[in-house]
Symmetry: C2
Subunit: 298 residues, 2 copies
């Protein structure tokens, strides 16, 4: 099986390398700035039409739905050159409505599709321990599962096309809101005269405990704001969630609130900082100074 | 040391029993409906003035700040009969501003105070595995720690008087908002065509994972709504948080939003159900029917 991999960014590059390490025959877009690094790791290079024509499985890892559509669809898109019976896996985090639209266009050409967004970020992309949430037909999932397992430690089939991105949006809603709740609570604790570090230790083991609390409370308390996961990327995910919610007839008031705080961070120049920077919004609201370490960041 | 224990409700009764089991000399209010059960377990009975006069340590476990003030303060309150040098521990979950006010009045009489709210609910009160968040002077904390350890597995000193309740409010804010975020995300998942049970399994191990998700997602998905922790009690806690936030100059927009959803549940007759009933609000918003099991509840 020959795999074409499109989107050699912070996530895509290590993911493609893990496919090569697992012994897959990988073709990358020779016009990509990262192509030379992949070629020297054993990949083939091709232009996009040739990649589409020669590969049995095409995978994309790009920023958002419009980029997936731009690279895949239309007269000059990769789909136009793909053979009937080949497969497309989009690993980008996009609006599931877009996933279904793309799958519909590919189906008309005899190309099957999975949507398979990941969670875990760059470190887990490098380690090959990403978590894949996958939507698509069960038999297509079974056929492609070994490829995804070469890049991830968890690969879960969530339902029909779009279900992978729906699960990812649920994940991103919960992460954003849990971060905001943590920021709100720690700010109240500090302003009400308690030591927020001690409060964190007192409550982490109970019902308030969470992966977000373990990962983000220490960053909030020390003023560290290196991503992690960038504010601007979380804005993109929540916009997809809100768009998906409107299409599905589901109001999302907490997601709207979290989106507003992230927008404030973006406008204030914190778009490239970790999403735990939500604490800055609350400290500002409450008239608190940033923790000392914030002043030292480059 | 003789301990006076006031407030033999769902939580207080098993807590007082655990003090007796640990060998403490416990006096209860003989007018309490639960007094006979405690007397047969080895407690002494007394009226409140005698309890105040004869005990070295008085403890309360009552619903809220006004009840603590009513039983302790004023001409007929227990504090009026307590000896200088004795100690008061309030284990109720109340506004920390009230804790500091009560401590101020007791200090004028030479009585030291700790605020020591708990988390864990009735099962952990029975097991003696509650988590205590404690505010007050360090030397008073050290003196009283063994008494609290007879009722809890975690006893954390959070700072000056009021810091225990501040930590508890931070805990309750995070729990309420994490439940609401979970409800919002699972409802979107279902309405967008994914199986919310599968989405839960796909995301529980990642950054969205939390104690709330582990405890409440299965309840939300099955329609089980037996407490757990009642909506009406969580309303009380969030009202204390909002009042504390106003006193501390800290806006709490997410807490306000969660308070609104809990109010809807209260008005809709769900005040005695578990706080995971927040999913009912979202399912209503999204035009979804309750899960089947809901129809069967007594």
């Amino acid at each position: 099986m020959r795999i074409g991999f499109i989107g050699l960014g912070i996530m895509g590059k290590p993911m493609a390398k893990n496919l090569l390490k697992a012994g897959y025959d990988v073709t990358v877009n020779s016009a990509s700035p990262a192509a030379p690094e992949l070629l020297s790791a054993g990949a083939r290079g091709a232009d996009l039409p040739e990649l589409g024509r020669t590969c049995d499985l095409v995978m994309t890892m790009v920023p958002n739905g419009p980029q997936v559509k731009a690279v895949m669809l239309g007269g000059t898109g990769v789909a136009a050159s793909m053979r009937p019976g080949s497969t497309f896996i989009d690993m980008s985090s996009i609006d599931p409505t877009d996933s279904r639209e793309i799958a519909g266009e590919l189906e008309a050409r005899g190309v099957e599709m999975l949507d398979a967004p990941v969670s875990g970020g760059e470190p887990k992309a490098v380690e090959g321990t990403l978590a894949f949430m996958v939507g698509g037909k069960a038999e297509v999932f079974r056929r492609c599962e070994p490829v995804l397992k070469a890049m991830g430690s968890s690969v879960v089939h969530c339902g029909a096309v779009g279900a992978g991105n729906t699960a990812k949006l649920a994940n991103q809603i919960i992460v954003a809101c849990n971060i905001q709740a943590l920021a709100e609570a720690l700010t109240l604790a500090e302003r009400a005269g308690a030591d927020p570090e001690v409060v964190f230790r007192a409550i982490r083991g109970g019902l308030a405990g969470s992966a977000v609390m373990e990962a983000k409370a220490p960053m909030m308390l020390s003023g560290r704001d290196q991503p992690g996961f960038k504010v601007d990327l979380h804005i993109k995910d929540l916009d997809n969630a809100l768009s998906c919610g409107r299409a599905a007839g589901t109001p999302l008031p907490m997601t709207e609130a979290a989106r507003g705080v992230l927008q404030w961070l973006h406008e204030s120049g914190f778009g490239q900082d970790d999403h735990s920077s939500m604490i800055k919004y609350y400290r500002g609201l409450a008239g608190l100074q940033p923790p000392e370490q914030s002043a030292e960041r480059p």
